[in-house]
């Protein structure tokens, strides 16, 4: 998997995450902040955890540290979380843009580097799906989040 391929995966990640966050706009406070809707988490908690995992993996792969733990902070508002996600997605794009072509195929703890990034993108899909279940039940469906829809939008825009 090369840098262009990873750019595609994280382009989709941005597209789908932004759709979920837009769908959270106007959600009632109880749906946003209640825990234990899916496992221990509710809608807000799921999206904060997804952000935290994104930050920790990026920090870990880039700097060898995993410090951010937004899950331990008070639950942010939808607007605050949207801003934090925008900063993280920009940071991810900037970090990926600075990698050299050999990095995705290098080995980190006995596995190819790209597999950790594929994990991170897949982890996002897993938790967006949970968020979509809760949003849909609350009448705020984010719409179709399939990667094929992202691919088709890119094709219309002339990207391949």
């Amino acid at each position: 998997m090369n840098l262009s391929d990873l750019g595609f995966l994280f382009g989709y990640e941005r597209w789908a995450t932004e759709r979920v966050l837009v769908a959270c706009t106007g959600i009632d406070e109880a749906t946003w902040s209640s825990p234990n809707a899916i496992g221990e988490r509710g809608l807000g908690g799921i999206l904060v955890h997804t952000l935290g995992a994104h930050q920790r993996w990026r920090h870990g792969l880039a700097h060898g540290s995993e410090s951010p733990r937004p899950e331990r902070e008070p639950l942010p508002s939808v607007a605050e979380l949207t801003a934090a996600w925008a900063a993280e997605l920009d940071a991810m794009d900037g970090w990926l843009a600075g990698l050299d072509e050999a990095t995705p195929l290098s080995v980190e703890d006995e596995a190819p580097f790209w597999q950790y990034l594929a994990h991170l993108a897949n982890h996002g899909t897993q938790h967006r799906s949970e968020a979509a279940v809760l949003l849909t039940a609350a009448g705020h469906s984010p719409g179709d989040l399939d990667m094929i829809d992202y691919i088709e939008e890119r094709a219309v825009a002339g990207h391949r």
Binding site: F8, Q115, A118, H119, T125, V133, L145
Partner: protein, 166 residues
């Protein structure tokens, strides 16, 4: 994208789907066949749809005529569905085994073939997540389905993989 990387992703898809199918064996008939749990579907319907989509995309990649909608047939039992998945895993493996980088970069429906393959993996993760929600609520969690756990089971063994967080 290289063929070995696509194969890794589909090996993950098989592993994670197998974990879900194993966990679903614990469900009662009513839990398995209930509908309208998530959207219009229940867990049986979700997993039949995931298989049907897998089969239809793979059949399309192979240039075959579009398959009938598996979702419109009677709901199979958990064991019957696993048997059907086993057949699909053999079929997708045979397809992947004859791919090379040029074919992966070739255009399929206006995008590179590898992107169409990756979206199929992503589609599976979306629906496994829904299935895991239902299984966990029923007390039959499938456990951690992260790619990194699959990776670590292959590189470090099961015990160490279980200690990997996120």
């Amino acid at each position: 994208m290289r063929p070995a990387e696509i194969l890794f992703l589909f090996d993950y898809d098989r592993w994670a789907t197998g974990e879900i199918l194993d966990a679903s064996l614990e469900l009662s008939e009513a839990e398995w066949s209930a509908d309208s749990v998530i959207g219009e579907r229940g867990i049986g319907g979700i997993l039949v749809h995931a298989l049907g989509a897998h089969e239809r995309w793979r059949s399309g990649f192979e240039g075959r005529p579009r398959l009938a909608l598996r979702e419109e047939a009677a709901l199979p039992s958990q064991e019957e569905l696993r048997g059907a998945w086993e057949g699909e895993w053999l079929a997708i493996r045979a397809f992947i085994d004859q791919l090379d980088e040029d074919r992966l970069d070739s255009t399929y429906n206006e995008a590179p073939l590898w992107q169409a393959l990756v979206q199929l993996i992503n589609h599976g993760t979306q629906h496994r997540s829904e299935a895991a929600v239902i299984l966990t609520a029923a007390g039959d969690s499938p456990g951690d389905l992260d790619i990194v756990r699959f990776t670590f089971e292959r590189t470090h063994g099961l015990d160490e993989a279980q200690s990997v967080a996120e």
